[in-house]
Amino acid sequence: MTDTMSSPALTRRLRIGAPRFALIGVWALLIVVYGVAEPQTFLRASTFQTILNSQGTLLFLVLALLCTLTIGEFVDLSIAANLGLSAMLVSVLAVNQHWNVWAASLAAVAVSVAVGAVNGALIVFGQINTIVVTLGMSTFLTGIALWISDLTLVTGLDPDFAKIALYSVGGLPASFWYGVVAIGVFSYVLAFTPLGTHLRFVGASHEVSRLAGIPVNRIRFGGFLAAGAFCGVGGVLTAAALGGFDPTVSATYLLPAFAAAFLGTAVVQPGLFNPVGSWIAVYFLSTGILGLQLLTGSGWVANVFYGGVLIVAVAISTFLGRRAGSRRV
């Protein structure tokens, strides 16, 4: 009796288990291929340091995106612009306006959270289409960032301030470890707290959640607030690491964030948006892009690579989601 029941369950586990870590295999394969093709440039400690060092901004954007993706709010297009605005605000307030850099940071985070609140209010309580709100917000914020910076790169933040992002712990910068901690806390909340399960249920079905007594709208609004907070903190750290910010680059972060979040559904918890999977995907993507840049020596590959990966990742996500019997994009 037990045997007849457990054996199909076991096969199913194995079937889902096999692709669970396939991305890590592909990652290893990428490293081998690049290592063979470009042994001089690729196989150096500095390369790997670059990969692990440079992804702080992307990591915080992915975290911001996950705040809304896990609760089923697809395509928050404003995150990159929101992060950019935060980075720009810190730079402008501290460098041009001579504010205390900590006060400037606080102000930047507060503005980003407020942006999240406006998004949430319009989408959740105003019931306005997510794409329209966040696309409009994205363009609006980019415009504001260009305005306050007078369309130019602002640099000259206090080098001491850079330590909050770059201070080296175990050979890696502080921003890497912030990412690890944030991913860890996010994962813990999702897996082990009532709030996490509520987030999953809201992501699966508003109606089911509402009837189970979950405060659906409060959770959705909170998701947008949290996304704003991650954008704000990410922006401050980005500005600190770079010593300033260029208002024109924030848009380039958007697509990689989506690619990583969707690619993350292929790892660890197949078919579900999950922080650890997305975290792995961030480094997978940066390995891929760095290797390609070394091979081709030019910048166009970034667009081709991120765009291509996003489509493949969403295809995988949809496929895995369908197999898990849940609704997906």
Partner: protein, 512 residues
């Protein structure tokens, strides 16, 4: 001479996995006749319609002939149009924000040779011609959303009719008349007869026996996927005979066991006052059924009491606490011990992508778990208890609910709310579309809950289910309790009280 039949369905079967929705149905519809097909929910009516519309492919060995010409199955849209086979669905399939002309002509719009513009003047004329044939005064330029239920039905019929050629064709109505009032119904059938005068046939799926007896020529009955009565003349049969055919053998057997020991406690557990006109009480340990025709309002009662549907008036008393329903949130009622098991498992009941365990324990996460640690022991205990008690298969709490069969999903939905030991459990169609074995497990679990002193209210359309489950059944008509059945409940009585003399309580002509 017997004319060759318009439609001949031979040995039509349809299986979903091991479940056989239709078993070798042979159905004949004669030219120019209005043929009614009746049966309970789950008898296979809708499956048959879906085969006629080409939505489902029937099992091998099924055949279909129209005007004695063999039709390839699954039937294609082109073939349906060629044979003049059209279907008017339950929802009528109209777009409310568009005009009558657009709705009528959609899919047939003709464009100019050059420029590919739609010639709306010609389309309006075509629409007007169709409406004129139906004797309808509906303006082709009116928005469908502005029309009465009757006029919408007319537009839907009109659409079904426009490919119709005189002397041929079959129009299938899938419970499309349910929105019509009695007067509208008379005009509707008069209109239909005008259309049929040149030889078209109609197959009318319905559940209103009186309507069928009044207006159809012949009637067939489906029960559990089999045609148990084939083409009886409506003059030779009665509501009582049709009811018996729909229900089959009387099943008042399964009810008894484990029941005699638990007479309902005398204390009133739940008191409902002026719930949009309904007053009722449920004693501790009592299972009360509410039923009625579609549209009578019985199916709203669980949602009104749970606070999930907008309610105009009413109070609910549980124990010592009284709630004014229009001002009370679903969460407050839930905390007071009210649980709702909705009919729509997929949209409202379960998150199919999440696990059995997550689905069962989610309502109690904040109450039992701590904010920073949900806890696993209580979840495991709860899930194990109910997976065992309800015999949920596979007994693996970590598989996604979506991978379970319908019956097992329903059990998970039940476990989700039974585990909270509600004071008042509200259910809507708790055993709809589940197999016999699962139904027994579910009934047993509900009886066990009642035995602990909970009050249960079941809204259901299946008289057999109500007879097996309930201590008392209230039949709702026009939002009011019309009949109360107590004591030994016989499903025939429920059917009688529900279906018979629907429109006019004094007309007892056909009730036995």
């Amino acid at each position: 001479m017997v004319p060759e039949p318009r439609l001949r369905a031979l040995n039509v079967s349809k299986s979903y996995g091991p479940f056989r929705a239709l078993r070798g149905v042979d159905l004949q519809v004669a030219p120019g006749e209005l043929h009614a097909l009746v049966g309970q929910n789950g008898s296979g009516k809708s499956t048959l319609i879906k085969i006629l519309t080409g939505y489902h492919a029937p099992d091998a060995g099924s055949r279909m002939l129209i005007d004695e010409a063999e039709v390839a199955l699954p039937i294609s849209a082109a073939e349906r149009r060629r044979h003049g086979l059209s279907v008017v669905h339950q929802s009528l399939g109209l777009v409310e924000s568009r005009t009558v002309t657009e709705n009528l002509r959609l899919g047939r719009l003709e464009a100019t040779r050059f420029g590919r513009r739609v010639r709306w003047s010609a389309e309006r004329q075509a629409a007007a011609a169709v409406l004129a044939r139906l004797g309808s005064a509906v303006r082709p330029t009116a928005l469908v959303g502005d029309l009465s239920a009757e006029d919408r039905a007319t537009v839907a019929i009109g659409r079904a009719l426009q490919d119709h050629r005189p002397g041929r064709g079959l129009i299938v109505f899938d419970e499309s008349t349910r929105a019509l009032t009695r007067d509208a119904l008379t005009r509707f059938y008069a209109q239909l007869r005008r259309v049929m005068a040149d030889g078209a046939s109609v197959l009318m799926i319905s559940h209103r026996l009186e309507e069928v007896l009044d207006h159809a020529d012949r009637v067939s009955v489906l029960r559990d996927g089999e045609l148990v009565l084939a083409g009886a003349g409506t003059g030779d049969t009665s509501e009582a005979e049709l009811t018996r055919a729909m229900l089959g053998r009387s099943i008042s057997v399964a009810r008894q066991q484990g029941d005699a020991g638990n007479p309902p406690d005398s204390a009133t557990a739940v008191r409902v006052r002026d719930l949009e006109g309904v007053d009722l009480e449920i004693r501790r340990g009592e299972i009360v059924g509410v039923t009625g025709l579609v549209g009578s309002g019985y199916e709203r009662i669980p949602y009104l009491l749970a606070g999930t549907a907008a309610v105009r008036s009413g109070t609910l008393t549980i124990g010592a606490r009284t709630f004014a329903l229009p001002e009370t949130s679903p969460v407050a009622l839930m905390k007071a011990g009210v649980a709702l098991i909705p009919e729509d498992r997929v949209q409202q009941g379960l998150a199919l992508g999440l696990s059995v365990r997550q689905n069962i324990t989610v309502p109690r996460l904040t109450a039992v778990g701590r904010a920073w640690w949900t806890g696993t022991a209580w979840q495991t205990a709860e899930v194990d208890e109910f997976v065992g008690a309800l015999d949920i298969r596979p007994p693996d709490p970590e598989v996604p609910v979506g991978s379970l069969s319908g019956g097992n999903q329903q059990k998970v939905l039940l476990a989700k709310w039974l585990a909270g030991r509600p004071e008042l459990l509200l259910l809507h169609e708790p055993t709809q579309a589940v197999d016999v074995g699962a139904r027994q497990d579910i009934v047993a679990a509900l009886r066990r809950l009642a035995a602990t002193g909970s009050a249960l209210l079941v809204a259901a359309s299946d008289p057999q289910e109500l007879a097996i489950l309930c201590d008392r059944v209230l039949v709702i008509r026009d939002g009011r309790i019309a009949v109360e059945l107590t004591g030994e409940i016989d499903q025939d009585d429920i059917v009688d009280a529900t279906f018979a003399r629907e429109f006019d309580p004094s007309a007892s002509r056909r009730s036995s």
